[in-house]
Symmetry: C2
Subunit: 195 residues, 2 copies
Amino acid sequence: MTMSKRDTYTPDSLLAVAVEVFNERGYDGTSMEHLSRAAGISKSSIYHHVRGKEELLNRAVGRALDGLFGILEQPEALSGRAVQRLEYVTRRTAVVLMEELPYVTLLLRVRGNTTTERWAMERRREFDQRVSELVKAAAAEGDLRSDVEARLATRLLFGMINSVVEWYRPDAKGGSEREQVADAVVRLAFDGLRA
Amino acid sequence: MTMSKRDTYTPDSLLAVAVEVFNERGYDGTSMEHLSRAAGISKSSIYHHVRGKEELLNRAVGRALDGLFGILEQPEALSGRAVQRLEYVTRRTAVVLMEELPYVTLLLRVRGNTTTERWAMERRREFDQRVSELVKAAAAEGDLRSDVEARLATRLLFGMINSVVEWYRPDAKGGSEREQVADAVVRLAFDGLRA
């Protein structure tokens, strides 16, 4: 029996607690008991909200994926030269990653064998694939260097963007700090370190 | 009692098995029992080689760190313009990462509370710090852009380099393939994607 507080959770606030535990212990290493302890409510109270931990994972990575795929539907990602669309997608991906930090962190760490984990990995690959097509289109329009293969360039680009989850922690500056980091990502990715 | 084969392990071959298990299960999640099963020899045979799993971790991350710090001692890293030294260090870091893939992967994933884990994290920060100083020196010499702060630039640079562990798997091409990836890292990091 765990110490229980009154269950005042909303779907979002319970999800926030669960994602924190998943990121801390790994999804596989997290039991309903761990979730119950972290939330301070009983397991049966959690089952009142969700069918189980896989539903929580589904909602958490779904939130990250909605943020990322949403970028590709915005007008700036849909028309104009490919290099400009790619710049827009790069900047916005970095911003979404910082805005939805714990959810994207979880998405990037998911590896595994449940249906939800496989689905998340599949959707993530699909997003990478969409960006890789933009890289190819921009190279075909002559705006990107042609001496680095598009797939490799996309991997390194995501490597740089995604690494932000390793060290970014929101501070009081909030939005302006995120824009600053996203600016740096775009500058380095497109024009490099060299003066 | 596990099924045991004759113990023909050398320190290096036992280390290779252990690192694979650490990378698969996480260091914390690995017991001597897991190591014994993966190696196919008894726990007491393993204790004949090492005092315990922390010694294996120490040797594994030590190998990665020796490779990385070795770069900083090479002549090309010690003299010349800072931007050229930084380019050299970037290229060699990418190559060492691919040559010592499982060991560097383990080093990058270490987070924890044992003395060895803390030591590894400390040494890794020290390496980053040394590279960050090169970035600052190159900016001071006017060779790097000044509109991205050195510490942020270093983080994004390592983000790109280190992401190679996520997808790189050695193939038959070996050295030439590694040089190709390292070339791409240097091109994108210094000159960016843009044509």
